[in-house]
Symmetry: C2
Subunit: 340 residues, 2 copies
């Protein structure tokens, strides 16, 4: 009996906001018999991440554009269901970049492509979040760019998201004060009460620069030493007004501007007057640090010291709407799609 | 006979553009007899620098505001004309921060305040330019932030100015390609023909982003690896569009916005997509590197390998107009005021 592999393809590029019409559900099949060297993975979860919005455009960016009429790329976790590859056995739990589809067929040298993981202390889907790319992103920006000293204040936007969640908790582990920005009282409560941030600002209560800047002043009485920026726009403008001399900005995402025109930075002269260092980074370009980062993250998750939250959409067909919601901040924590 | 010490005071703060009315010429006197420990310096040249504009405002910045009704601060070179201080003798050539006045009376421990210099191989006024604060500023930003590799392309704005002049030549010494931005064909010719930059763009020929960006593309066929930014505004926006991945931006000045409202950075997302590092700096906060920098700069000037140009205003009374001209780019090279 032929097994159906449902997939989601990108079929058109957005003009302005991305829409569900940009995607299409397509049915393919998986072979009944594998060839030598092949591995078949059944995906359990796929990861939805803001960077995917950039790949939908056909513009120069740090990743190649997503090809039209092909499976949307993305991180996946799953289980090997068939194997003629000596490196993998049926039942192995694996992390890969399988994309928005139910199965992935792989072959050849899979080092760097498919990685076996242990689910003894860490749930499988956490390898897409706190113990995966978002977690390492948080770890890299915090430890390699912000490098907080004890007592420093670290501000993180999208604080309840997959990356922000980890940034603040890692900052606390290092003796820093962690302040978040998130959307709505429920997310803010989670950030302070569950994750242990020292404060969280609801950006929906502060729609202009003056108001947000004032809120930051109250939440950061000693100023801000490090900013982990996931959003850009108003939040970054306000943070710049509150930064201490020699502050560091890890520029990780600017999701506020992903759907349309770039959002200008209003007062770039503050970068000079406060002698700030700003660094844009992409975590996949620092693979040499992943083992160190993953070791710390897995230990913290395994021992219950690193908490996180997930928004789980059900079934592949729900992926486009869940992704569009992520871009609008409708998720709460790591956005996943559960396939099985 | 009493000696008159003419001074220029800041008597009001600008609203918008600085004007001559913000300054006032005042006559003071110098004592006939020094007390123990005192040194009297007759200034030969005073230095006019863009950072002084920031000090005219009463706003938080990296330096304290210039006090009203006091002598405008600033770098000076001169000669000791009287001394009851064992560290200095009449005839010593000295560099200090004597401000906009003809004489300065100093006392106490003068280490770090007044420095004896040799004029054997280096002209006295060069200690206000290529072998002084502007030169070290260029050295710091180029070597400590941009750190060009051989074959890299380094772009510098205000390329014919006191700092820019040195940036490009130091970049060439390190095997990089140097490209300048300057105002007008005469300055551009000087930058390429006299200083040896590989190219220079006349920003007056490119009044919109698209045009300037296109000119940069032609002048930097391999993209831009390092930007030494003295001006900000349009030039920085255009440079961002042409930067290579992992480029470095040494943010030294943003003179384009000094006279009014901040000039937004139009496309801050390029800092992320190109994984750029931007660092604002103030050279006076890195005193530990001055000896190393000054050694290189003095050697290059003394051997004729580091060229520069000066605009010299005549007499203290000419200082305000010369300073206002500097803010509009009317100077050509290091702006000095000759007092004797």
């Amino acid at each position: 009996m032929t097994t159906i592999n449902r997939q989601i393809h990108l079929v058109s590029r957005p003009t302005g906001e991305a829409t569900a019409d940009n995607f299409k559900l397509v049915e393919a099949t998986v072979p009944d018999e594998l060839q030598d060297g092949q591995v078949l993975v059944r995906h359990h979860y796929l990861s939805l991440d803001p960077y995917m919005r950039g790949r939908m455009n056909d513009t120069k960016s740090y990743t190649a554009p997503q090809a039209l009429n092909e499976v949307m790329g993305g991180g996946t976790v799953g289980e090997v269901v068939a194997s003629k590859n000596s490196g993998f056995a049926v039942g192995d739990k694996v992390v890969g970049m399988g994309g928005w589809q139910e199965y992935q067929l792989l072959s050849g040298d899979l080092r760097g492509t498919l990685r076996k993981v242990s689910t003894e202390h860490v749930p499988l889907q956490a390898y897409l979040g706190a113990v995966g790319m978002p977690g390492v992103t948080a770890w890299y920006g915090l430890t390699q760019i912000i490098a907080p000293k004890e007592g420093n204040t670290v501000l993180v936007s999208a604080a309840s998201g997959a990356v922000g969640t980890v940034v603040g908790q890692l900052a606390k582990v290092r003796g820093a004060r962690a302040v978040g920005i998130a959307g709505g009282p429920e997310k803010c409560r989670f950030v302070t009460e569950e994750l242990g941030f020292d404060a969280c600002i609801d950006y929906k209560q502060h729609t202009d620069l003056k108001s947000l800047s004032q809120a930051l002043k109250q939440a950061c009485p000693n100023g801000i030493d490090g900013v982990f920026e996931n959003v850009g726009g108003l939040g970054l403008d306000a943070a710049l007004q509150r930064m201490n001399a020699f502050g560091r900005i890890a520029l990780c995402g600017m999701i506020a501007g992903y759907n349309g025109e770039p959002i200008p930075l209003q007062q770039p002269q503050l970068l000079l007057t406060n002698r700030l260092r700003l660094e844009g980074f992409i975590v996949s370009e620092h693979m040499e640090l992943w083992p160190q980062a993953l070791t710390e993250l897995a230990t913290l998750v395994g021992t219950g010291k690193l908490k996180y939250r997930e928004s789980i959409a059900d079934g592949l067909a729900a992926a486009p709407e869940a992704f569009l919601g992520l871009l609008k901040g409708r998720n709460f924590g790591k956005q996943l799609v559960k396939l099985i």
